[in-house]
């Protein structure tokens, strides 16, 4: 465990020192500012309230979960794998007394930490902006729902990250992985729109599963099914990704 911890700290530090993570954080905050400006504009321009204090957080989440967050998750994962393959720095990491399994897990855990941090920052700042600039409409239950919705969004984003990690271990070039990820994302989004019956199986649809947690009466059956589907995806993608990572020669 100590070895894994060391590897994880190492990966997180690498992530932290990279500009990309910082840019991601700055961009997410910019989204909040722009979003709030748009809302204020709509309110004074059209006379429509737009959002209340807590709804603003949900508006922010519904936008970033389909745009910025998957995009930066992809960038971070690609950097962590393809980037290190290309820079040959993976060799250095592998010379340490860490098994490949632990290293692979540590890398993905670091990605999960990044996603969670981004989500929490978004949550805190959107709530702050929401309460400062919008009419108060919050009840304690609503805030609790929103916190749960943000936390739950970690799961589908992490599954997405696993998928991209698999792609990064198949394709050599980071750029092709990135384009494959973006293309796949768009295609899946489109499929989900046309085949609504099967959309529950697509990971891009799972991205908005946080909606299920907002319901007044929790649709437990659906939540369990979606959860199991995501766990199934996670196991498959993790195993396949690790298999390739384990076989790789550096």
């Amino acid at each position: 465990m100590a070895v894994f911890q060391a590897a994880l700290v190492n990966e997180i530090e690498k992530l932290y020192k990279k500009k990309k993570a910082l840019v991601a954080v700055i961009l997410t905050l910019a989204i909040i500012v722009i979003g709030q400006l748009v809302i204020v504009g709509v309110r004074s321009g059209f006379g429509v309230r737009g959002v209340g204090s807590v709804e603003f957080s949900m508006l922010v989440l519904s936008v970033v979960i389909n745009t910025i967050l998957p995009l930066f998750t992809a960038l971070i994962v690609i950097d962590s794998f393809s980037g290190e393959f290309a820079a040959n720095s993976m060799r250095i990491t592998l010379t340490r007394p860490v098994s490949r399994f632990k290293l692979f897990s540590a890398k993905l855990t670091a990605v999960a930490v990044f996603i969670l941090t981004a989500l929490m920052l978004l949550l805190i700042f959107s709530l702050l902006a929401g309460f400062l600039f919008n009419a108060n409409s919050a009840s304690l239950g609503d805030v609790a729902r929103i916190v749960v919705a943000y936390l739950m969004s970690l799961l589908p984003l992490f599954v997405l990250a696993l998928g991209i990690a698999l792609a990064a271990n198949i394709l050599r070039s980071g750029i092709s992985v990135f384009f494959l990820a973006v293309l796949g994302f768009i295609v899946f989004q489109g499929l989900g729109m046309f085949f609504t019956r099967y959309s529950g199986l697509l990971i891009t649809t799972e991205l908005s599963w946080y909606n299920l947690w907002l319901a007044s009466t929790l649709p437990l059956g659906k939540i369990i099914r979606e959860f199991l589907i995501m766990v199934g995806y996670a196991i498959i993608l993790f195993t396949a990704g690790f298999y390739l990572f384990d076989k790789k020669e550096f």
Partner: protein
């Protein structure tokens, strides 16, 4: 060690696949509350249009402002397949003003009454036709597209519909969306719509700012046959008027299906009521000619020319209707010129015609078309019952102005 790792990997891969496949099948076969509602709606529409002999549909809407009714409407429609009859009563109240519209239709009659007067307008069809009884909206060509759009809009909210199974096999569906759950875009668009609805400053309710959808609620009852018996939807919006006073607007929509196979539609008794009656050959065509015999006779108009800066009569156009019944018309047309005018003209028209009165849909049932014998020239004739006139036209280039209005020649 190496083998162990491989086995572990295989096992976990198999486990993941099983988990995914199993849940996927369960997910596809499971029907969300929204899906059940949709299925029930389709089944209800199909049963109403194909199998139920009679039923009553009742739709009512109401808009209240802080509990005070702004507008309300109620529409009761009774369908009876055996009689091929539909009776509908629409009542509405707008800012305290009530109005009622009544209509009755069967194969040979339509009766309607306007809210503004007490007169019953009756259309009697000489050829009884089977009416489209109740058309299934889901069978129209673009219903599938609309359904797809609706599915996309509902999207992640599908699972907010809670289903409660009752002991007798019926189901209660319900759903509530509060501010947090309503997608912000839906909220904004709905708010804008409502703002436009109440934008007139003369209205008692005139909201201008801070408009938002507060809550959307819905309940539905599906009976044991899967037919939707009632559906109630409520939307609550909040907004402020120019004075900053908060208005809470409630929109309610209630639909009910009752009297399945036990609704009776009776033709209203109009004795002693003010009635305006018209005879029409069939629905969707204008009124036919009620007593065609009266058009037999001569109709004329003058051929007018100019001479020395004055209008002068150059002659007459004459139509002789020799035979006329509800189906055919026969007669002749000729022109008579006064001395001194005939020389300027090409040989005057003189021909006999027979024609069949128009019967097709979207055709003038008081008119007929004919061909001038020995030529390809077509012409048409129209009988005006109210004015006792005949309109007569011959197609093709005409060297002079042709007056197509012919007046009856009285003896």
């Amino acid at each position: 060690m190496k083998i162990q790792k491989k086995t572990a990997m295989l096992l976990s891969f198999a486990l993941g696949t099983l988990l995914l496949a199993g849940t996927a099948i369960a997910d596809i076969s499971s029907q969300s509350g929204y899906g059940q509602l949709k299925d029930s709606l389709k089944l209800t529409a199909a049963k109403c249009s194909d199998s139920y002999n009679s039923f009553t549909m009742d739709f009512s809407t109401a808009v209240t402002d802080n509990g005070k009714t702004v507008t309300s409407s109620d529409s009761v429609q009774k369908y009876d397949r055996a009689k091929n009859a539909v009776e509908s009563v629409n009542t509405s109240e707008n800012n305290g003003q009530k109005s009622r519209f009544y209509s009755y239709m069967d194969a040979s009659t339509t009766i309607s009454q306007n809210p503004s007067d007490d007169i019953y307008y009756v259309n009697q069809y000489s050829e009884p036709t089977k009416r489209a009884f109740f058309t299934d909206p889901f069978k129209s060509s673009n219903s599938e597209d609309i359904e797809k759009i609706a599915d996309a809009v509902v999207g992640g909210l599908k699972d907010y519909v809670v289903v409660k199974d009752n002991a007798d096999g019926s189901k209660e569906l319900s759903g509530t969306l509060t501010e947090v759950q309503i997608p912000p875009l839906v909220n904004a668009v709905a708010s804008l719509q409502v703002k436009q609805l109440f934008s007139n400053p003369n209205q008692t309710t005139h909201i201008t700012k801070d408009i938002y959808v507060k809550e959307i609620k819905g309940t539905a009852l599906i009976n044991k046959d899967g037919v939707l018996e009632s559906i109630l939807g409520t939307g609550i919006l909040s907004g402020k008027d120019a004075q900053g006073q908060v208005h809470e607007l409630t929109f309610e929509l209630l639909g009910k299906l009752t009297g399945i196979n036990s609704t009776a539609v009776t033709k209203p008794d109009l004795t002693g009521k003010k009635v305006v009656q018209q005879v029409i050959s069939k629905p969707n065509s204008g009124p036919g000619i009620s007593d065609p015999q009266k058009f037999v006779g001569t109709f004329k108009n003058d051929i007018v020319s100019q001479k020395d800066g004055e209008f002068v009569k150059a002659g007459e156009r004459i139509i002789d209707i020799t035979h006329m019944d509800g189906k055919t018309v026969a007669g002749s047309y000729h022109e008579e010129y006064a001395a001194g005018f005939a020389a300027n003209q090409k040989p005057p028209q003189d021909f006999k015609f027979t024609a069949t009165l128009n019967k097709g849909p979207n055709q003038d049932p008081q008119g007929a078309e004919f061909t001038v014998p020995g030529t390809n020239t077509k012409g048409n004739i129209h009988f005006d019952e109210a004015l006792g006139q005949v309109y007569f036209n011959i197609n093709g280039p005409s060297s002079q102005a042709f007056n197509s209005v012919f007046n009856k020649v009285f003896k």
